[in-house]
Amino acid sequence: MEESTVQSMEIAIRGVSKTFQDGTTALQPIDLQVAAGEVLVLLGPSGCGKSTLLRMIAGLEQPTAGRILIGDRDVTQLPPEKRGIGFVFQQYALFPTMTVEENIMFGMKLRKIGKQEQKAKLEELLALMNLTELRKRLPIQLSGGQQQRVAIARVLATDPMILLMDEPLTALDAKLKEHLRLELAQLFRKLHITTVYVTHDQTEAMAIADRIVVMNKGVIEQSGTPKEIYLKPKSSFVAQFVGQVNRLRAKVKTAERGNVLDLGFYQLPYKGESRAVADIDVFLRPEDVYLTQEAGFSARVQDVIFLGDHYRVIAESGGQKLVIDVGNDTLIHEGDQVQLEIREDKIIYA
């Protein structure tokens, strides 16, 4: 795959919405721009509309309203085969009657590319995806990971201008998923092809994405880089869906040197936007609470779960539950009384 041959295209989604025949709304009107060469991940729980949006970009479903542009071209009315896309399915969708080779060649044969060129490209893709030895196998004779590699090779064979992937790793084992996640990230970087990638797995999203779009109930909750999404979530949904988080009840109180956030067991300077005195919920990541010796506040350890590289500690203070991650060389036990400190600037006011 010569990098120069790939022509990256931007995607523009303008006011696209989808209501199914039975009246359920899958997507509220959505506007979204994907830059040329960008890897955009649509992240959300099942039923949030992320797959529907992806399938509409592919032309596999029709939007109820709105327009979809790929490059300068309005593709809203075009059938999938005329959109210049590649689509990777969750269950791979390899053609069961064709060998690995035939699956990969299928798109080229339809395009009536010269035999020489077909052959060269096939070899290139087999090598790229590490499939050369499996070329004569039927899909049923391949493992899940191998099938996924064939599915990607089959799509790349057609020189798509944009790549659409619908939970491509969901059907795989945990360990293999982790491995292929890295491989995919490297492949994306090598290809520089505009990619829209759908997943419900936030770790996968963060490892792969240039930008993450978090969706919920047919609406975009937040769009940003993995760091923005994780460190500055804009809604409680995003805070809770992406990564582990503690949800804490708090009161905003007036004090001499500006407002104060009262967690019940601990008081901190208030840095949220609202200036009113009110009951609010704040969020705090497990890694932003740490064990200390003297300062901070006291908590009782309710549960300690060993997770390999760290312990997940569930502590309780002033009636609030706190989940903390501590290193695996820390000595800590159920029932211990510990001193904890909070990284003030990491408190999330969503």
């Binding site: 085969e81 053609f95 798109g107 659409l164």
Partner: protein, 271 residues
């Protein structure tokens, strides 16, 4: 222990089956090799050497084959259309379509006579329009051909409809996204995958056409096919031996077709 229990329960049914299923078959085959109490292959020789018999065999074979092919093509188009579109009145259409499945062959023959008999609707119509009575083919092989189509198509449509409905549509979607038009997706992805169902439906249609009696009996007039021939030998000539031989030939052709289709499918599955 568990296996014993099952065996005790099922064995009687097995034996009953062996008796009721295999015994008549054996008697039939034995009868077909006898003539006047002597063992002979003469009954079979007769089918091949006697021009009338050979002609009947020939009629039966190509009639069944052509009905099967035409019915498969028409049914495939209909089944695809029905499986992939919903339209008002689809359920009603379906019910009407499956109507003929439960019709006696005699009734179907009877309908063909109403349509294409010498006083049938279409001949009358053609006489009215052209002054000449055309389309009187109820009692010819064309009439039987139409009658068989009439009862094969609903069966094949039902079989294919289920298979097409169950077919994993993401395969078609995959084909579309890598550049196939709807027809190319069907041609290169759907049909090769559903191929065994087509073979199976075809084999069944062929067997049914080969052995159908009622319709042919109602319509047969100036030509013969094997089931009619057999009936005549049995009822008119009281020639049980020859009738048995014909029955065995029909049976062998049908079983051969069914075995052939299975071998094809298994070979496909393995390669």
């Amino acid at each position: 222990m568990k296996r014993m229990g099952v065996a005790v329960f099922v064995l009687p049914i097995f034996l009953l089956f062996a008796f009721f299923f295999l015994y008549p078959l054996i008697v039939l085959v034995v009868a077909s090799f006898q003539r006047g109490g002597e063992l002979t292959a003469g009954n079979y020789a007769q089918i091949i050497t006697n021009p009338q018999y050979l002609h009947s065999l020939w009629n039966s074979l190509w009639l069944s084959l052509s009905v099967t092919l035409v019915a498969l093509v028409l049914s495939a188009v209909l089944a695809f259309f029905l499986a992939r579109h919903s339209f008002p009145g689809k359920t009603l259409y379906f019910t009407l379509l499956t109507f003929p499945i439960s019709f006696p062959g005699v009734v179907v023959g009877f309908m063909i006579i109403i349509l294409f008999g010498s006083t049938g609707i279409l001949p009358m119509l053609s006489e009215l329009l052209t002054g000449e009575k055309k389309l009187v083919f109820a009692y010819t092989i064309a009439g039987i051909f139409l009658a068989y189509l009439y009862f094969e198509i609903p069966r094949i449509v039902m079989t294919l409809y289920g298979a097409i409905k169950d077919f994993d549509q993401t395969l078609e979607e995959a084909a579309r996204t890598i550049g196939a038009t709807p027809w190319q997706a069907i041609r290169y992805v759907v049909l090769p995958t559903l191929y065994p169902i087509f073979l199976s439906a075809g084999a069944l249609a062929f067997s049914t056409s080969m052995s159908a009696f009622g319709t042919a009996f109602t319509l047969a007039n100036d030509f013969d096919i094997l089931p009619i021939l057999m009936y005549n030998e049995f009822t008119l000539n009281f020639n049980i031996e020859v009738a048995s031989a014909i029955a065995v030939v029909i049976g062998l052709v049908c079983v051969g077709i069914n075995l052939g289709y299975r071998v094809l499918v298994e070979k496909e599955g393995r390669s």
